[in-house]
């Protein structure tokens, strides 16, 4: 079906807006414009006026969409995470570190707001692109990067993809899965296999310590298998923390505060996932669990590569944590809209 001069704007609107907004707002606006065509004396005036009205309708629909999402979202989890982050910043000790941590917390909150308000189409493309970028970067880094402080880095520049990607590999891949699961184009099982393989291979290739790489690769695999059979994430979280305690308590980096903080966070996330959100959102919660678990394990063991999320100083980890939580909020609000598990 062709809508003449409005095809381009309609295509743009389909990327930015929900289907119901297209049906209720954009299509009637175009229909009105087409209705007026025969009455217009100057066709070019009609064309540009109609395009202006359509752009205005798209912008207003975007604003309305963002407002609706903000109102529908449950902000309690974000507040909890912010408080957890603030408590972590106090533990850092030095004023400079505390200030930096707080700046990252603010950035994290802003990222959450952006994710909650963003159009679904934009969000989906963001995750597809960032997921692809992560795969390429992981694949190329071991060959092109140079080793500095036991970390593979990009040609001696300050960006350390080995650090960033180890931490965010699950953050990037699981939302991609969440965004596409249930869509005929990309079946869930293939995506899952793809994620596990690329995460494991990437981590094995990048980690200087093969035991650490093995654990990092296996943790997402175990969580995904457990979720598949709807096993309790709480049980898994407790097992991770208990395992960390048993194996690592003799090391110099051991801290009860860190363990307790992470255990509480894991339990809170897991509990929320079980009680409030299902399917896609649950996967996001699993991702959070993996994320925190990896941080706990690596920080406690003294392995290089992973800053501790929320409690740690790693800025990108904090931002990723908040972005992740926003995805959960999105999924939860979509679920209340549609009555079933929703694409974030």
């Amino acid at each position: 079906m062709t809508y003449g001069p409005f095809n381009g704007l309609l295509r743009l609107a389909r990327h930015l807006l929900e289907e119901r907004d297209i049906r209720r707002i954009i299509e009637p606006t175009i229909a009105d414009a087409l209705h007026e065509r025969s009455l217009a004396t100057r066709q070019w005036v009609w064309l540009w006026q109609s395009r202006g009205h359509l752009v205005c309708a798209i912008l207003r629909a975007l604003g309305e969409n963002a407002r609706r999402k903000l109102v529908q979202s449950d902000w309690e989890p974000l507040l909890v995470q912010l408080l957890a982050g603030l408590s972590g910043s106090i533990a850092l000790g030095s004023p400079h570190a505390i200030l930096a941590h707080c700046v990252y917390l603010v950035l994290g909150v802003l990222c959450s707001l952006c994710v909650v308000c963003s159009p679904t189409g934009v969000l989906r493309w963001f995750y597809v692109l960032s997921g692809m970028l992560a795969v390429v970067a992981i694949a190329v880094c071991p060959w092109l990067g140079v080793a500095i402080d036991s970390q593979r880095q990009w040609l001696s520049v300050e960006i350390a993809p080995s650090v960033i990607l180890q931490v965010h590999v699950s953050t990037l891949f699981l939302p991609v899965y969440a965004a596409f699961v249930g869509r005929s184009l990309m079946q869930g099982k293939y995506m899952r296999l793809f994620m596990v393989l690329s995460a494991s291979i990437g981590l094995l290739a990048l980690q200087p310590n093969w035991q650490a790489a093995l654990v990092c690769g296996l943790v997402p695999l175990v969580v995904m298998v457990l979720t598949r059979v709807r096993a309790s994430i709480i049980a898994f979280s407790v097992a991770v923390v208990a395992g960390g305690l048993v194996t690592l308590w003799r090391t110099a980096a051991f801290s009860w505060w860190t363990v307790a903080g992470n255990a509480a966070l894991l339990l809170a996330i897991s509990w929320s996932a079980r009680s409030l959100w299902r399917r896609h959102a649950q996967l996001s919660a699993v991702e959070a669990t993996v994320f925190v678990a990896l941080g706990t394990l690596t920080a406690l063991s003294g392995w290089l590569g992973d800053p501790l999320p929320v409690v740690g100083f790693g800025g990108s980890a904090i931002i990723a944590c908040f972005t992740l939580l926003a995805l959960q909020l999105r999924a939860a609000s979509n679920r209340s809209d549609n009555g079933h598990g929703a694409v974030p």
């Binding site: 907004d21 209720r24 707002i25 009637p28 175009i30 009105d32 009205h53 309708a57």
Partner: protein, 100 residues
Amino acid sequence: MPSRLPSAKEQLVLELLAEKGSLYGLELVTLSGGGLKRGTVYVTLSRMQDRGLVRPVDDKAPGSHAGLPRPRYRITAAGERALLAAQAVQGLLQPVRRGT
């Protein structure tokens, strides 16, 4: 039942629909005398539809406008009640606004 009173724009739409029966979005814009804009009328109507104040009729008129929906809107019972409530509140507030 809607949880809050309609906004000024929503009240204008409700008044026009209560008076004329059912109207197209474009007709609402024309009859509002500048109170409603072409680019925003359907956003307002969509929000009102969510709140159950209006409902679309003739959702699709086949053969016209390249098959696109050009619905007419009609006020609902909830919309009529909301309009009455808004007018009542306005009536109560009018002396206060005049400063008497």
